[in-house]
């Protein structure tokens, strides 16, 4: 993987007296010793499971369109349906098993986001409605929401400036 650094042996680590250098060497040594998941297999599973989730989304979309929804309405109902399914599967403890198998394939779609909100809700329910669910429901999704909103605000400001200056 990382061929720039040469292999570090245990002897190098033990002999090194400088604390910072020792840490660096030991970390490199550990990295060489630690097995990792098969990336190709992971990519493959993420790709097809993520794809299947998107196909299900598209099927919902087509169905809602066939019922007479316009594009925006159909999209909103599709998102709602996927979130519902994800939360249901989280409650039934099926979603984590799926995620273990498919990795990013289940994390990236909206279903992953729904799972990351539902899971803490289930876990922290015992600590009460306010301090449990209320405070901790967004422990995983919180950063996504905060920085998602913030970055869209920044982009909005840039867009506004570009519009005012006549670039767009």
């Amino acid at each position: 993987m990382d061929n720039n650094k040469k292999q570090v042996s245990a002897a190098d680590v033990v002999k090194e007296q400088d604390k910072a250098k020792k840490a660096e060497k030991y970390n490199q040594y550990v990295k060489d010793k630690t097995p990792t998941h098969n990336k190709v297999l992971n990519f493959f599973n993420a790709y097809w499971v993520g794809g299947v989730i998107c196909i299900i989304g598209q099927a919902f979309n087509n169905y809602y369109t066939s019922l007479g929804c316009n594009k925006d309405q159909a999209s909103a109902y599709t998102a709602l349906s996927l979130i519902f399914l994800s939360v249901l599967l989280t409650g039934l403890n099926i979603y984590p098993k799926l995620a273990k198998f498919a990795g990013a394939g289940t994390v990236v779609p909206i279903t992953g986001f729904a799972n990351s909100v539902a899971a803490p809700a289930v876990e922290f329910k015992k600590e009460g409605q306010v301090f449990g669910i209320g405070c901790k429901i967004f422990t995983i999704a919180g950063p996504v929401i905060l920085y998602g909103v913030f970055s869209s605000w920044v982009l909005g400001v840039i867009y506004y400036i570009l519009m005012k200056t006549g670039v767009i």
């Binding site: 840490a23 660096e24 030991y26 550990v30 998941h37 992971n42 409650g91 979603y95 899971a119």
Partner: protein, 349 residues
């Protein structure tokens, strides 16, 4: 006046009146019960909640059961126990505080992360040897779900665990230390009395690993330092012990430990064992690097190691529970994960 001193070398001590381990108990969860050591445990509980309402409650109940089982196996009553020394991983020792509260036994609460069993036995043995207590219980516990909730993610959150991760053992173990083994006479033929000969108290060792998903690598240097210190302090070779047993280094930590100790001229590859590796079958139980948690070393000690000593299959072991001093706060603030390991010399007579 070396003879009178119980201190040995730099950080070890040898007891003048080695305390006996008169009983040990092991309570385990379902997954542990299905593992290679499953048949040795005193109780395997199918219900992950142990009849409680929350994970913390579950672990508290489990610890109470371990305490009760140890007292019963020793043929004692709870009032016979002078002190308890114990701890766990949850918050400010939730399982210990709430689990054994009703026993009303004076308590030393200790935190040594997953090395707690070593620390508890060490302190308990010092108390007994010094004559400060006749019967002292050392106890600890860990619960998979409670540990995941505190240190990682909610259980229902979908993620892939890296291969270096370990699986926190749901289990609680207790031993009762006594200044004498009253069953000695009658049992001598069948079972060897087992005692704590000495202790090597571990130092905090930090080699700068910041990966909380690779605890074996975080803790291996501390185990290496403690084992080397023990061998140096006593002036013995690794062969002195029938087994050198670490708590929860797992497969990666095992390789690193053996490798590091070789640099000191000690080859422990032949008589080394890790409780985390023994606990689960990694091919069928999907536990990656092995078992971990306070309970891992504790129930392996009480269900497997001590009986081996009693049956005289082993004569002498160095039991080295290993702890990763991880807190989600220090970790988020960019600190590495230091390790600590305590060595307990346990012998069959």
């Amino acid at each position: 006046m070396e003879n009178n001193s119980k201190m040995c070398g730099k950080q070890s001590l040898l007891f003048a009146n080695p305390p006996y381990i008169i009983a040990g108990s092991s309570i385990a969860g379902k997954k542990e019960g299905e593992g290679p050591l499953g048949r040795y445990f005193d109780q395997v509980e199918e219900d992950p909640m142990f009849g409680g309402d929350t994970w913390e409650d579950a672990e508290s109940r489990m610890m109470r059961r371990a305490a009760d089982a140890a007292i019963e196996k020793a043929g004692l009553k709870k009032d016979d126990i002078r002190y308890m020394v114990g701890g766990d991983l949850l918050g400010q020792l939730i399982a210990t505080s709430f689990g054994i509260m009703d026993l009303e036994i004076p308590l030393f609460g200790v935190y040594g992360a997953c090395s707690t069993m070593g620390e508890s036995i060490a302190i308990g043995s010092v108390l007994v040897d010094g004559g400060y207590g006749d019967k002292v219980m050392a106890i600890t516990s860990s619960h998979f779900a409670g540990a995941e909730k505190q240190f990682r993610f909610p259980l229902a959150y979908g993620s892939q665990r890296p291969l270096a991760t370990s699986w926190t053992v749901t289990g609680s173990g207790a031993v009762i230390l006594d200044k004498d083994d009253n069953r000695k006479e009658e049992l001598q033929e069948k079972e060897a009395p087992v005692c704590v000969k000495g202790v090597t108290v571990g130092r905090i060792v930090d080699y700068g690993v910041k990966d909380s998903m690779n605890m074996g690598a975080c803790m291996a240097p501390s185990a290496y330092k403690t084992i080397a210190a023990n061998l140096n302090d006593l002036g013995v070779k690794p062969e002195y012990y029938d087994k050198i047993i670490t708590g929860d280094l797992g497969y990666i930590g095992k390789d690193i430990l053996i490798d590091l100790l070789k640099q000191e001229g000690y080859d422990i590859s032949k008589n080394y064992m890790d409780c985390g590796i023994e606990m689960f079958d990694k091919d069928t139980q999907d536990t990656h690097s092995g078992g971990s948690g306070c309970g891992c070393s504790a129930i392996t000690l009480t269900s497997y190691v001590i009986p081996k000593l009693r049956r005289r299959e082993w004569k002498r072991v160095l039991f080295v529970p290993t702890g990763a001093l991880l807190s989600t706060v220090s970790f988020n603030e960019g600190n590495s994960v230091p390790g600590i390991a305590h060595g307990v010399m346990i012998e069959g007579m």
